[in-house]
Symmetry: C2
Subunit: 514 residues, 2 copies
């Protein structure tokens, strides 16, 4: 098949259509409209004058999304701007409003809106990195942030390294891959086949699921991700951890890493890092800490004690898209030993890495991350930091952690709510358990929590999430919107009571509670 | 340490500082300014009135980026908007301008600007997904796109599945992880230890580096990623592939997958997919195709013949942030067998996946991707598709592939340039080899290409990339800006000649050419 001849009408028409799509005046006018719509939308969300979650069934949403793709073929040039407005309004009308203070759900923040604005530059200009020359300024921003945060974590100047990658799961995988390559000799090149006895890793018993997944991905096998026993506050029990290490070592299994959590997901428990680091030193083990949520306490004078010892970790991860309140995804990996940044991947790619400029290799992000092309996600964090200073991040931690305590106090004071733990941060798990069902079987109480929550979120009035506590379903809030106020906690509790009354009173439920 | 009491002055001040950062009027006024600056910037880039690449040494850039973080602490409230403007201008002044038509470099596009605008909604509202309820509309857009593109690839309706993930490397890893789990039985749970003989995979001899990396990550070992021999056009030699398969199988090694490329990175060679699929059927092997670059030819009547047979792949990947011209990262994975979408990861996470709504599990993206929280990256592609229709993507492929041919014809017609292959798409590799150095040793000619290129890109006049061809360095262009014109190819060649003259004439170079 021959290519389009330049002089053909077909070629000229294609060029014209493309020029229209790349028109910068359209970008400007549509862009201003998008900004206006966004500002209006966020204002309404902040004032809770919309639903938190706009609930529609998947099939209905998918039908609409597909129809809008098909309709486009009939869109005339003069309709483009109104078409864009319709699409933008549809996105807003059918999404989830994390900026509503009644969003008290997953560990995904109501992000600082201006961070998204800086990322607009990333998206519109398609700013990326991989080799230094592809994104010199993206590389500079990322490097400056790595150095600042590494210092706040407490690594000695010049001794550590770090990188940004696409999310906490990928960050944990990258760090554990490094741990595997360093601790298991030639595993990168030779693989894990015919390793005997089989290598294992040890992780916090309620670690995020991505830790066990990493064992599955890296060829260890999920059953070789051993669970470290927890104490009654949900933290790694150090004595039992030592026993486990001894047992495993006595059977000859190499231990790839010990993975602690700061904090663990279910109830936000922070592991005792100094005693765990002592153990890892004693037994010569790689210490990895998943500080996706809690790492940002390094900004806070009030709460940095929670991660005391983090600077002793051989590797750690910290999600800026959690407690630094930037949009997803922006996850940091840090290595205590600077050289470990090159141990995850050990390869050459001639068309990328230029032998005529060997000094630049240190700044080639693709050598350190699974991503080859990687967007300049650092712009969001760098932008708000360079605007508001790092005080902003201390404020965000201090305020939301304080609000976690406020929510807990209210739940504890209410007779019909059951608190499950004293919160260490902004994560609070609990159950609604009024007098009428207090003697119901545990699984029935669990079932009520799940059905309650589903009604609650589909109503659009609040957004909270489910969890399990001691094997039974429970409710869980994370205060990820710093504009949430204590009044909204009162309203949440009142709304739960009302929903429960409807539910418990509904046919079939009461009898099932026997 | 106690939390901040709500009535404390400290708490009130933190609240006020945060409210200022979340102010929607600031978002609107700063947002309009950012849009205006972006539109002006892109207009200048399109007109080539700036440098393509703004070259500064890493140390200098990092110093500036760090200083701007520190300066923020002194920024007063009334200076916020001018501060933001300064930061935005700095980002633009020190970055790489992919929208300049003289950017003819990596396979990273001058993206459709409006796609970035739709992604602004993703960033500012922090729209994410993981479970359906976290991003119902994001899930709907992604699902609609998967269905449309799967159909265009040629998978039968309802039989296939797909997902979006953070980049081509991660997409290839995800698909190969699925292949490993399906073909190697219990490898997810049990790992690869004590597998003997060791499993291998077979990949295109010049596959993207992420394929061999995948073998390293997944526990196979990079030395167990065998290279399929290529023919003289850089494509997998099917006869030699069959011989390799037989040899490997006769030694008892399980073959995880055969990985073909559509196209391979160095010169854009498309593998013959039908004959390779025939072989895979004959020997009962998993066929994976890395169609990161070429998958989008499914939109084009002119070029879809290049990927004929792609619909026979058990898994394939296609980067929308390449030939669909959306910002990075937006990579698709497709599975021919719908059920394989659940084979990459096989786990439960109780706080995420709600047993009270089992019907929704099919729409929980976190079950299929390494990312737990994943941004709504589909908004960019969905937005421009729903605005301009899929004709836009056909135009972009047709135009840039045609331009590849135009560049090739010009290089071939010039006596001082050496073409290395007849291009199948918009990737063109070549060398500058004037009469004066024609008899120089090959490595000296290679060295000239690299030094030439470095001068060229640091001058800001053009951006092209290095590659290797038959072991010797060469130059490589990918036409990733549809606004590039044939005139710019003439200018590129002229600029290379001028740079080379300076370089060859410079002290020390000529003698080294002997």
């Amino acid at each position: 098949m021959s290519s389009l001849p330049l002089e053909s009408l077909e070629y000229q028409q294609a060029r014209e259509r493309i020029a229209a799509a790349y028109d910068t005046q359209l970008l400007q006018s549509a862009g201003r409209k998008v900004i206006d719509l966004l500002a209006e939308h966020l204002e309404k969300c902040q004032a809770s004058s919309k639903s938190v979650l706009n609930w529609n069934e998947p099939a209905e949403n998918i039908t609409v999304a597909a129809r809008m793709l098909h309709e486009a073929e009939a869109c005339e040039a003069e309709e483009i701007e109104s078409r864009i407005q319709l699409l933008v309004e549809t996105i807003m009308a059918r999404g989830h409003n994390l900026h509503d203070p009644r969003y008290i759900g997953h560990q995904v923040p109501a992000s600082v809106p201006l961070a998204g604005l800086f990322e607009t530059i990333t998206s519109v200009t398609n700013s990326v990195m991989a080799v230094y020359e592809m994104g010199p300024w993206a590389t500079a921003c990322e490097t400056a942030l790595v150095r600042e945060i590494g210092r706040l974590i407490g690594y000695p100047e010049g001794s550590f390294s770090g990188l940004i990658t696409s999310g906490g799961s990928l960050a944990n995988l990258t760090a554990l891959l490094t741990a595997r390559n360093v601790t298991l000799g030639e595993s990168w090149k030779e693989g894990l086949s015919s390793r005997n006895p089989r290598p294992v890793m040890i992780a916090h018993g309620a670690a995020h699921y991505c830790i066990e997944r990493s064992a599955g991905i890296l060829g260890l096998g999920t059953e070789n991700c051993l669970k470290a026993p927890l104490d009654d506050r949900g933290r790694i029990d150090v004595e039992k951890l030592e026993q486990l290490i001894r047992d495993v070592q006595s059977q000859g299994h190499p231990i790839l890493a010990v993975c602690a959590s700061a904090c663990a997901t279910p109830i936000g428990a922070f592991d005792p890092l100094h005693p765990i680091a002592d153990l890892c030193e004693k037994y010569n083990l790689w210490l990895h800490v998943d500080a996706a949520h809690g790492g940002a306490t390094c900004f806070s004078d009030k709460y940095r004690h929670l991660i005391s010892g983090l600077e002793r970790a051989d590797s750690l991860i910290c999600d800026a898209h959690k407690m630094m309140f930037v949009p997803a995804l922006c996850a940091f990996v840090f290595y205590k030993n600077r050289e470990h940044q090159y141990q995850a991947f050990q390869q050459s790619a001639p068309y990328l890495f230029d032998p005529s400029a060997p000094d630049l290799v240190e700044y080639d992000s693709g050598l350190k991350t699974i991503e080859c092309t990687k967007p300049a996600v650092a712009f969001g964090l760098w932008g708000i930091w360079a605007t508001f200073g790092k005080t902003l991040f201390a404020d965000l931690v201090d305020l939301t952690f304080s609000l976690g305590k406020v929510l807990y106090d209210k739940l504890k004071a209410a007779e019909d709510f059951q608190t499950l733990h004293e919160p260490e941060c902004n994560i609070v798990a609990f159950r609604y358990r009024p007098e009428a069902i207090r003697n119901a079987p545990a699984e029935k109480i669990g079932e009520l929590q799940l059905r309650l929550r589903r009604r609650l979120i589909e109503s659009g009035k609040f957004y909270i999430v489910p969890t399990q506590f001691e094997g039974v379903a429970a409710l869980r809030c994370t205060v990820m919107n710093p504009l949430t106020t204590p009044t909204q906690f009162d309203e949440l509790m009142q709304t739960i009571r009302e929903q429960a009354q409807n539910l418990i009173g509904s046919e079939g439920f009461e009898s099932s509670m026997q």
